[in-house]
Subunit: 187 residues, 2 copies
Protein backbone atom coordinates (compact mmCIF):
# COMPACT_ATOMS: atom_id res chain seq x y z
CA UNK A 1 0.00 0.00 0.00
CA UNK A 2 2.95 2.36 0.51
CA UNK A 3 2.96 5.09 -2.13
CA UNK A 4 5.57 7.83 -2.34
CA UNK A 5 5.04 10.95 -4.43
CA UNK A 6 8.09 12.92 -5.56
CA UNK A 7 8.29 16.22 -7.42
CA UNK A 8 11.54 17.51 -8.95
CA UNK A 9 11.26 21.16 -9.96
CA UNK A 10 13.51 23.83 -11.39
CA UNK A 11 14.44 25.20 -14.77
CA UNK A 12 14.90 23.76 -18.24
CA UNK A 13 18.49 22.60 -18.72
CA UNK A 14 18.90 21.34 -15.14
CA UNK A 15 18.22 17.76 -16.21
CA UNK A 16 15.19 17.16 -14.03
CA UNK A 17 13.37 15.02 -16.60
CA UNK A 18 16.39 12.73 -16.85
CA UNK A 19 16.56 12.65 -13.04
CA UNK A 20 12.91 11.61 -12.91
CA UNK A 21 13.43 8.85 -15.46
CA UNK A 22 16.47 7.55 -13.57
CA UNK A 23 14.59 7.55 -10.26
CA UNK A 24 11.58 5.74 -11.77
CA UNK A 25 13.79 3.15 -13.44
CA UNK A 26 15.77 2.62 -10.23
CA UNK A 27 12.51 1.85 -8.45
CA UNK A 28 10.89 -0.26 -11.15
CA UNK A 29 13.64 -1.99 -13.09
CA UNK A 30 16.15 -2.52 -10.27
CA UNK A 31 14.13 -2.45 -7.03
CA UNK A 32 11.10 -4.35 -8.33
CA UNK A 33 8.51 -1.70 -7.38
CA UNK A 34 5.96 0.00 -9.62
CA UNK A 35 6.64 3.52 -10.82
CA UNK A 36 5.07 6.23 -12.93
CA UNK A 37 7.03 9.18 -14.17
CA UNK A 38 5.29 12.27 -15.57
CA UNK A 39 6.04 15.65 -17.04
CA UNK A 40 3.30 18.20 -17.38
CA UNK A 41 3.90 21.06 -19.77
CA UNK A 42 1.71 24.15 -19.58
CA UNK A 43 2.31 27.85 -20.13
CA UNK A 44 5.08 27.81 -17.49
CA UNK A 45 7.17 25.48 -19.67
CA UNK A 46 7.34 28.21 -22.28
CA UNK A 47 8.76 30.47 -19.55
CA UNK A 48 11.60 28.01 -18.91
CA UNK A 49 10.25 26.16 -15.87
CA UNK A 50 10.70 22.40 -15.71
CA UNK A 51 9.05 19.80 -13.50
CA UNK A 52 9.21 16.02 -13.33
CA UNK A 53 7.12 13.84 -11.05
CA UNK A 54 7.62 10.27 -9.93
CA UNK A 55 5.30 7.99 -8.01
CA UNK A 56 6.74 4.83 -6.50
CA UNK A 57 4.47 2.18 -5.07
CA UNK A 58 4.43 -1.44 -4.08
CA UNK A 59 1.03 -1.72 -5.75
CA UNK A 60 -0.18 -0.86 -9.22
CA UNK A 61 -0.54 2.89 -9.62
CA UNK A 62 -4.05 3.82 -10.69
CA UNK A 63 -3.93 7.52 -10.08
CA UNK A 64 -0.77 8.92 -11.67
CA UNK A 65 -1.00 12.50 -10.45
CA UNK A 66 1.15 14.09 -7.74
CA UNK A 67 -0.87 16.55 -5.70
CA UNK A 68 0.87 16.49 -2.30
CA UNK A 69 4.48 15.38 -2.74
CA UNK A 70 6.12 13.45 0.07
CA UNK A 71 9.47 14.55 -1.32
CA UNK A 72 10.08 17.89 -3.02
CA UNK A 73 13.34 18.84 -4.72
CA UNK A 74 13.62 22.50 -5.72
CA UNK A 75 16.49 23.76 -7.85
CA UNK A 76 15.22 27.27 -8.59
CA UNK A 77 13.65 29.97 -6.44
CA UNK A 78 10.65 30.11 -8.78
CA UNK A 79 10.04 26.38 -8.36
CA UNK A 80 10.42 26.71 -4.59
CA UNK A 81 7.94 29.56 -4.38
CA UNK A 82 5.43 27.80 -6.62
CA UNK A 83 5.49 24.35 -5.01
CA UNK A 84 6.53 24.74 -1.37
CA UNK A 85 2.89 24.96 -0.31
CA UNK A 86 2.15 21.56 -1.86
CA UNK A 87 4.60 19.62 0.34
CA UNK A 88 2.78 17.03 2.41
CA UNK A 89 2.90 17.76 6.17
CA UNK A 90 5.98 16.01 7.53
CA UNK A 91 7.38 15.68 4.01
CA UNK A 92 10.98 16.08 2.93
CA UNK A 93 12.25 19.22 1.21
CA UNK A 94 15.60 19.20 -0.57
CA UNK A 95 16.62 22.68 -1.65
CA UNK A 96 19.61 23.51 -3.84
CA UNK A 97 20.96 26.43 -1.83
CA UNK A 98 23.23 27.33 -4.75
CA UNK A 99 20.03 28.74 -6.29
CA UNK A 100 17.34 28.76 -3.61
CA UNK A 101 16.68 30.39 -0.24
CA UNK A 102 14.12 28.00 1.20
CA UNK A 103 11.30 28.81 3.57
CA UNK A 104 10.04 25.39 4.61
CA UNK A 105 6.78 24.83 6.44
CA UNK A 106 6.97 23.78 10.07
CA UNK A 107 7.39 20.06 10.59
CA UNK A 108 9.06 19.42 7.25
CA UNK A 109 12.37 17.59 7.08
CA UNK A 110 14.62 20.08 5.33
CA UNK A 111 17.91 19.44 3.58
CA UNK A 112 19.59 22.67 2.53
CA UNK A 113 22.39 21.57 0.23
CA UNK A 114 24.49 23.50 -2.29
CA UNK A 115 23.84 20.88 -4.99
CA UNK A 116 25.09 22.91 -7.94
CA UNK A 117 28.26 23.97 -6.11
CA UNK A 118 28.87 20.33 -5.14
CA UNK A 119 28.50 19.35 -8.79
CA UNK A 120 31.05 21.96 -9.84
CA UNK A 121 33.46 20.97 -7.08
CA UNK A 122 33.13 17.24 -7.77
CA UNK A 123 32.93 17.10 -11.57
CA UNK A 124 34.11 20.51 -12.74
CA UNK A 125 30.69 21.30 -14.18
CA UNK A 126 27.27 22.40 -12.98
CA UNK A 127 25.47 19.98 -15.28
CA UNK A 128 25.67 17.00 -12.91
CA UNK A 129 23.73 18.84 -10.19
CA UNK A 130 20.69 16.71 -11.08
CA UNK A 131 22.67 13.56 -10.25
CA UNK A 132 24.07 15.10 -7.05
CA UNK A 133 20.43 15.84 -6.17
CA UNK A 134 19.44 12.21 -6.77
CA UNK A 135 22.21 11.05 -4.44
CA UNK A 136 21.04 13.44 -1.74
CA UNK A 137 17.40 12.49 -2.23
CA UNK A 138 18.11 8.78 -1.97
CA UNK A 139 20.38 9.18 1.07
CA UNK A 140 17.82 11.40 2.78
CA UNK A 141 14.76 9.26 2.12
CA UNK A 142 15.77 5.72 1.15
CA UNK A 143 13.01 5.75 -1.44
CA UNK A 144 15.12 3.47 -3.66
CA UNK A 145 18.18 1.38 -2.81
CA UNK A 146 21.74 2.60 -3.32
CA UNK A 147 22.39 -0.31 -5.65
CA UNK A 148 19.32 0.49 -7.76
CA UNK A 149 20.09 4.18 -8.16
CA UNK A 150 23.69 3.42 -9.13
CA UNK A 151 22.56 0.95 -11.79
CA UNK A 152 19.89 3.30 -13.11
CA UNK A 153 22.34 6.22 -13.36
CA UNK A 154 24.88 4.03 -15.17
CA UNK A 155 22.20 2.82 -17.62
CA UNK A 156 20.83 6.26 -18.52
CA UNK A 157 23.63 8.84 -18.60
CA UNK A 158 25.44 9.49 -21.89
CA UNK A 159 28.15 7.02 -22.88
CA UNK A 160 31.52 8.04 -21.49
CA UNK A 161 30.03 9.93 -18.53
CA UNK A 162 29.17 7.01 -16.24
CA UNK A 163 32.18 7.42 -13.96
CA UNK A 164 31.78 11.16 -13.47
CA UNK A 165 28.06 10.80 -12.83
CA UNK A 166 28.60 8.06 -10.26
CA UNK A 167 31.03 10.42 -8.53
CA UNK A 168 28.33 13.12 -8.55
CA UNK A 169 25.78 10.64 -7.15
CA UNK A 170 28.13 9.64 -4.37
CA UNK A 171 28.91 13.26 -3.51
CA UNK A 172 25.18 13.88 -3.07
CA UNK A 173 24.87 10.87 -0.79
CA UNK A 174 27.88 11.89 1.27
CA UNK A 175 26.73 15.44 1.92
CA UNK A 176 23.55 14.10 3.50
CA UNK A 177 25.38 11.52 5.56
CA UNK A 178 28.13 13.89 6.66
CA UNK A 179 26.85 17.42 6.27
CA UNK A 180 29.37 20.23 6.21
CA UNK A 181 28.88 22.96 8.82
CA UNK A 182 26.09 25.27 7.82
CA UNK A 183 24.60 23.01 5.19
CA UNK A 184 22.97 19.64 5.03
CA UNK A 185 21.20 19.99 8.33
CA UNK A 186 17.92 18.24 8.72
CA UNK A 187 16.03 20.56 11.02
CA UNK B 1 -11.64 20.85 -25.93
CA UNK B 2 -9.70 18.74 -28.42
CA UNK B 3 -7.58 16.14 -26.61
CA UNK B 4 -5.33 13.66 -28.39
CA UNK B 5 -3.96 10.58 -26.62
CA UNK B 6 -0.83 8.94 -28.00
CA UNK B 7 0.92 5.74 -26.94
CA UNK B 8 4.43 4.82 -28.12
CA UNK B 9 5.26 1.20 -27.35
CA UNK B 10 8.10 -1.19 -28.01
CA UNK B 11 11.27 -2.34 -26.27
CA UNK B 12 13.85 -0.73 -24.05
CA UNK B 13 16.64 0.78 -26.16
CA UNK B 14 14.33 1.93 -28.96
CA UNK B 15 14.26 5.47 -27.59
CA UNK B 16 10.52 5.70 -27.02
CA UNK B 17 10.82 7.76 -23.84
CA UNK B 18 12.93 10.33 -25.67
CA UNK B 19 10.38 10.27 -28.53
CA UNK B 20 7.60 10.97 -26.03
CA UNK B 21 9.49 13.86 -24.47
CA UNK B 22 10.21 15.36 -27.89
CA UNK B 23 6.57 15.07 -28.95
CA UNK B 24 5.32 16.64 -25.71
CA UNK B 25 7.81 19.49 -25.95
CA UNK B 26 6.92 20.08 -29.62
CA UNK B 27 3.29 20.47 -28.59
CA UNK B 28 3.82 22.52 -25.45
CA UNK B 29 6.96 24.57 -25.91
CA UNK B 30 6.75 25.22 -29.66
CA UNK B 31 3.05 24.86 -30.60
CA UNK B 32 1.64 26.50 -27.48
CA UNK B 33 -0.61 23.59 -26.46
CA UNK B 34 -0.71 21.76 -23.14
CA UNK B 35 0.93 18.36 -22.89
CA UNK B 36 1.53 15.60 -20.37
CA UNK B 37 4.08 12.89 -20.94
CA UNK B 38 4.08 9.71 -18.86
CA UNK B 39 5.97 6.48 -18.45
CA UNK B 40 4.49 3.68 -16.40
CA UNK B 41 6.83 0.99 -15.20
CA UNK B 42 5.44 -2.29 -13.96
CA UNK B 43 6.61 -5.88 -14.11
CA UNK B 44 6.72 -5.69 -17.93
CA UNK B 45 9.50 -3.10 -17.75
CA UNK B 46 11.71 -5.70 -16.08
CA UNK B 47 11.03 -7.92 -19.11
CA UNK B 48 12.37 -5.24 -21.44
CA UNK B 49 9.12 -3.63 -22.60
CA UNK B 50 8.98 0.15 -22.90
CA UNK B 51 6.04 2.49 -23.23
CA UNK B 52 5.66 6.26 -23.33
CA UNK B 53 2.39 8.15 -23.43
CA UNK B 54 1.64 11.70 -24.44
CA UNK B 55 -1.57 13.68 -24.13
CA UNK B 56 -1.88 16.90 -26.09
CA UNK B 57 -4.74 19.27 -25.44
CA UNK B 58 -5.79 22.84 -25.99
CA UNK B 59 -7.08 22.86 -22.43
CA UNK B 60 -5.47 22.04 -19.12
CA UNK B 61 -5.09 18.28 -18.71
CA UNK B 62 -6.76 17.08 -15.54
CA UNK B 63 -6.76 13.36 -16.20
CA UNK B 64 -3.26 12.34 -17.33
CA UNK B 65 -3.94 8.70 -18.16
CA UNK B 66 -4.15 7.22 -21.66
CA UNK B 67 -6.79 4.50 -21.80
CA UNK B 68 -7.92 4.59 -25.45
CA UNK B 69 -5.13 6.04 -27.60
CA UNK B 70 -6.10 8.01 -30.71
CA UNK B 71 -2.63 7.28 -32.06
CA UNK B 72 -0.70 4.07 -31.38
CA UNK B 73 2.88 3.49 -32.48
CA UNK B 74 4.12 -0.08 -32.08
CA UNK B 75 7.76 -0.99 -32.61
CA UNK B 76 7.70 -4.58 -31.32
CA UNK B 77 5.33 -7.49 -31.87
CA UNK B 78 4.83 -7.81 -28.11
CA UNK B 79 3.76 -4.17 -27.85
CA UNK B 80 1.44 -4.62 -30.83
CA UNK B 81 -0.21 -7.68 -29.35
CA UNK B 82 -0.60 -6.06 -25.94
CA UNK B 83 -2.01 -2.70 -27.01
CA UNK B 84 -3.75 -3.12 -30.37
CA UNK B 85 -7.06 -3.73 -28.61
CA UNK B 86 -6.83 -0.35 -26.85
CA UNK B 87 -6.80 1.72 -30.05
CA UNK B 88 -9.78 4.06 -30.17
CA UNK B 89 -12.21 3.19 -33.00
CA UNK B 90 -11.16 5.17 -36.05
CA UNK B 91 -7.74 5.77 -34.49
CA UNK B 92 -4.38 5.73 -36.22
CA UNK B 93 -1.98 2.78 -36.00
CA UNK B 94 1.64 3.18 -37.03
CA UNK B 95 3.45 -0.15 -37.11
CA UNK B 96 7.18 -0.61 -37.63
CA UNK B 97 7.02 -3.47 -40.14
CA UNK B 98 10.74 -4.04 -39.66
CA UNK B 99 9.67 -5.68 -36.37
CA UNK B 100 5.88 -6.05 -36.42
CA UNK B 101 3.22 -7.86 -38.44
CA UNK B 102 0.17 -5.77 -37.61
CA UNK B 103 -3.44 -6.92 -37.39
CA UNK B 104 -5.36 -3.69 -37.12
CA UNK B 105 -9.00 -3.50 -36.15
CA UNK B 106 -11.47 -2.56 -38.85
CA UNK B 107 -11.91 1.14 -39.37
CA UNK B 108 -8.45 2.06 -38.10
CA UNK B 109 -6.12 4.19 -40.21
CA UNK B 110 -3.08 1.97 -40.61
CA UNK B 111 0.42 2.98 -41.63
CA UNK B 112 2.65 -0.03 -42.17
CA UNK B 113 6.14 1.40 -42.42
CA UNK B 114 9.58 -0.21 -42.13
CA UNK B 115 10.76 2.44 -39.66
CA UNK B 116 13.88 0.66 -38.49
CA UNK B 117 14.97 -0.17 -42.04
CA UNK B 118 14.39 3.46 -43.03
CA UNK B 119 16.56 4.54 -40.10
CA UNK B 120 19.37 2.23 -41.23
CA UNK B 121 19.07 3.33 -44.86
CA UNK B 122 18.96 7.03 -43.99
CA UNK B 123 21.44 7.30 -41.13
CA UNK B 124 23.43 4.07 -41.24
CA UNK B 125 22.07 3.02 -37.84
CA UNK B 126 18.89 1.58 -36.37
CA UNK B 127 18.99 3.91 -33.39
CA UNK B 128 17.19 6.80 -35.11
CA UNK B 129 14.09 4.68 -35.79
CA UNK B 130 12.35 6.54 -32.95
CA UNK B 131 12.89 9.83 -34.80
CA UNK B 132 11.80 8.30 -38.13
CA UNK B 133 8.67 7.19 -36.26
CA UNK B 134 8.04 10.73 -35.00
CA UNK B 135 8.28 12.04 -38.55
CA UNK B 136 5.79 9.45 -39.78
CA UNK B 137 3.45 10.09 -36.84
CA UNK B 138 3.42 13.84 -37.39
CA UNK B 139 2.95 13.54 -41.17
CA UNK B 140 0.14 11.01 -40.69
CA UNK B 141 -1.76 12.88 -38.00
CA UNK B 142 -0.71 16.54 -37.90
CA UNK B 143 -0.85 16.35 -34.11
CA UNK B 144 1.97 18.91 -33.91
CA UNK B 145 3.37 21.24 -36.58
CA UNK B 146 6.37 20.37 -38.73
CA UNK B 147 8.18 23.42 -37.41
CA UNK B 148 7.53 22.42 -33.78
CA UNK B 149 8.71 18.83 -34.16
CA UNK B 150 11.88 19.96 -35.94
CA UNK B 151 12.70 22.43 -33.16
CA UNK B 152 11.93 19.88 -30.44
CA UNK B 153 14.13 17.22 -32.07
CA UNK B 154 16.99 19.70 -32.46
CA UNK B 155 16.68 20.76 -28.80
CA UNK B 156 16.66 17.25 -27.33
CA UNK B 157 18.95 14.94 -29.32
CA UNK B 158 22.60 14.61 -28.25
CA UNK B 159 24.96 17.37 -29.33
CA UNK B 160 26.50 16.58 -32.72
CA UNK B 161 23.55 14.46 -33.88
CA UNK B 162 21.07 17.20 -34.81
CA UNK B 163 21.66 16.98 -38.55
CA UNK B 164 21.40 13.20 -38.76
CA UNK B 165 18.26 13.18 -36.61
CA UNK B 166 16.59 15.86 -38.74
CA UNK B 167 17.33 13.65 -41.76
CA UNK B 168 15.69 10.72 -39.96
CA UNK B 169 12.68 12.90 -39.08
CA UNK B 170 12.32 14.01 -42.67
CA UNK B 171 12.60 10.44 -43.97
CA UNK B 172 9.71 9.45 -41.71
CA UNK B 173 7.62 12.34 -43.01
CA UNK B 174 8.42 11.52 -46.63
CA UNK B 175 7.49 7.85 -46.43
CA UNK B 176 4.00 8.84 -45.28
CA UNK B 177 3.61 11.50 -47.94
CA UNK B 178 5.03 9.36 -50.74
CA UNK B 179 4.74 5.73 -49.70
CA UNK B 180 6.86 3.20 -51.53
CA UNK B 181 4.88 0.39 -53.17
CA UNK B 182 3.75 -2.13 -50.62
CA UNK B 183 4.29 0.06 -47.58
CA UNK B 184 2.95 3.26 -46.18
CA UNK B 185 -0.58 2.64 -47.36
CA UNK B 186 -3.35 4.06 -45.27
CA UNK B 187 -6.06 1.48 -45.70
Amino acid sequence: MKRTEIRLAGEGGQGLILAGIILAEAAAVYDGANAVQTQSYGPESRGGASKAEVIISEDEIDYPKVNRPDILLVMSQLAHDKYIGDLRPGGTLIADTSNVTPRAPEGARVFELPLTDISVNTTGRAIAANIVALGALVAATGVVSKDAIEKAVAARVPAGTVEVNLRALNAGMEVVRRPATGSGDAH
